[in-house]
């Protein structure tokens, strides 16, 4: 027998009575806390920024650019945007920022996303904080009960995310106009919007639910060669789902911030032609 550590008493998890008597919650010596800390900081920064922008209800349009946070704009109190993504579905009774109406959908898509679930379960809820690091919770029921059982609606948010990505694509096309609505022009903002929409589509299509819908649900790929190809394509994107999740999160915030800078008069959009 080695040192005289007694078996654990009346405790659970790695300190359960039958397990090796080690009192430390983990024995990791690497910087396991770094990834969840950076993730928490990044997500927190985005939440703070997007909350400020979504509720500010100002500086979201500078012809020909409309902030992705306010597109489509579905209330009467939206700014006039010539040929822009306006549709007065909510009328005049909607008094607060119109961004709130539409942001529910990308927010829901990302909240229920399989990558973001991992990210916030680890970094905010410490469930677990890192692999083989004991979590602080006495009970755990995972996604078996309300509210987390609602994560299963992810595919419906995916369908809405497709629509939103379609509208943002339309906004990117509109960005090839100048401030007088003439076509065939391009500015630095057009480039920002182009990068953003490519990343938004890549992230949306790399979704695990998308992978399932296009072909993953099949038992025999050999009977569905086109869907098999589509599944392989989505699978290649899906392998980079985490990177695309972060890249598109940053790009959508940058696109919004760019419009904010233009609309608030900080500088003028450099025009290429």
């Amino acid at each position: 027998m080695a040192t005289g550590t007694e078996p654990h008493q009346n405790s659970g998890g790695v300190r359960a009575r039958t397990r090796a008597a080690i009192s430390a919650p983990h024995l990791r010596t690497d910087r396991w806390w770094l990834a969840p800390a950076v993730t928490a900081a990044g997500l927190f920064a985005f939440v703070v920024y997007s909350t400020w922008r979504a509720f500010s209800n100002a500086h979201y349009y500078s012809a020909p650019y409309v902030s992705p946070f306010y597109s489509p704009c579905l209330a009467e109190n939206c700014k006039a945007m010539p040929s822009g993504p306006n549709a007065d579905l909510f009328g005049s009774w909607w008094a607060i920022s119109p961004a709130i109406i539409i942001l529910i959908f990308p927010l829901g898509f990302r909240l229920t996303c399989y990558y973001y679930r991992k990210a916030y379960y680890r970094s905010f809820w410490a469930s677990p904080p890192a692999c083989a690091v004991a979590e602080p919770h006495a009970k755990y029921t995972g996604e078996t009960r309300f509210p987390l059982i609602l994560q299963n609606v992810h595919r419906y948010f995916f369908y809405f995310a497709l629509l939103v990505a379609g509208v943002l694509t339309y906004d990117t096309v509109l960005s090839f106009r100048d401030t007088h609505e003439n076509w065939g022009h391009m500015g630095l903002g057009t480039l920002v919007f182009l990068v953003n929409i490519v990343l938004i589509w890549a992230y949306t299509l790399s979704c695990h639910s998308c992978r399932h819908i296009v072909g993953g649900k099949l038992k025999h790929f050999s009977k569905h060669p086109v869907r098999y190809k589509a599944w392989q394509f989505v699978g290649r994107l899906n392998a980079r789902h985490m990177q695309l999740a972060w890249a598109s999160l940053v790009s959508v915030a940058l696109a919004d911030f760019y419009v904010y800078l233009l609309a608030s008069g900080v500088f003028d959009d450099p025009r290429f032609f």
């Binding site: 027998m1 080695a2 040192t3 005289g4 550590t5 007694e6 078996p7 659970g12 998890g13 790695v14 039958t18 397990r19 090796a20 008597a21 080690i22 983990h26 024995l27 990791r28 010596t29 690497d30 399989y114 679930r117 991992k118 379960y121 680890r122 469930s127 677990p128 692999c131 083989a132 690091v133 004991a134 979590e135 919770h137 755990y140 029921t141 995972g142 996604e143 078996t144 987390l148 059982i149 299963n152 609606v153 992810h154 595919r155 695990h208 639910s209 992978r211 399932h212 993953g216 649900k217 099949l218 038992k219 025999h220 790929f221 050999s222 009977k223 569905h224 098999y228 899906n238 392998a239």
Partner: protein, 258 residues
Amino acid sequence: MSGYTAHFRVWRGDAEGGGLEDFKVEVNEGEVVLDIIHRIQATQASDLAVRWNCKAGKCGSCSAEINGRPRLMCMTRMSVFEQDETITVTPLRAFPVVRDLVTDVGFNYQKAREVPAFVPPADLGPGEYRMFQEDVDRSQEFRKCIECFLCQDTCHVVRDHEENKTAFAGPRFLMRVAELDMHPLDAAETSGLDRKRTAQDEHGLGYCNITKCCTEVCPEGIHITDNALIPLKERAVDRKYDPLVWLGSKIRRRPAGG
């Protein structure tokens, strides 16, 4: 790299208690942690209990936790550590300890028995099975599993919550359910066994919160979360939580198995 002396701390004890014991031990170029454990056993602690077999990363016997991370001792090179680093080796902390580095992994065999086996197609005899490679690719990835149970050990659902062991099969056996559900010739559905539904109802798929530790520790590099658990969750959604899929299944007849 010439030889040097390393500082090891190895957990020794049994279900009655135990602790970390210090060893100064010789390390030579090209060695792995299991070599060092064997040297300790040969020179300093002849009664040190350790389970091992192939020393080639294929039998899955020498699972342990090295500096707190679930790993195979035979696949962990000493060259990944600094020479002055203290290396701590403990048994798997999700399972009952038997003695020293040996744990009772019977939980996994119990869970394995709970997964209904492959259901042979009624119209095919032995030797008549024909499959397209693209149809079996997915299942074959999961067949690489060497049953080391590192994924089971690291999964916080059972590691941190002993009480969940009854309801939750763990990533290794949910992957087994996925393997069978994706198998082109598995006839479970025609025999009345709905693996998509039982994954959730009987094997505890809902407990998984897809934090990917199983994938991180898999020595075979199987994408357990992305290729098995999440696709299985999506299949369970088809059965239990998606009204459109349910409606579609009522309206039009779909050939069995797709």
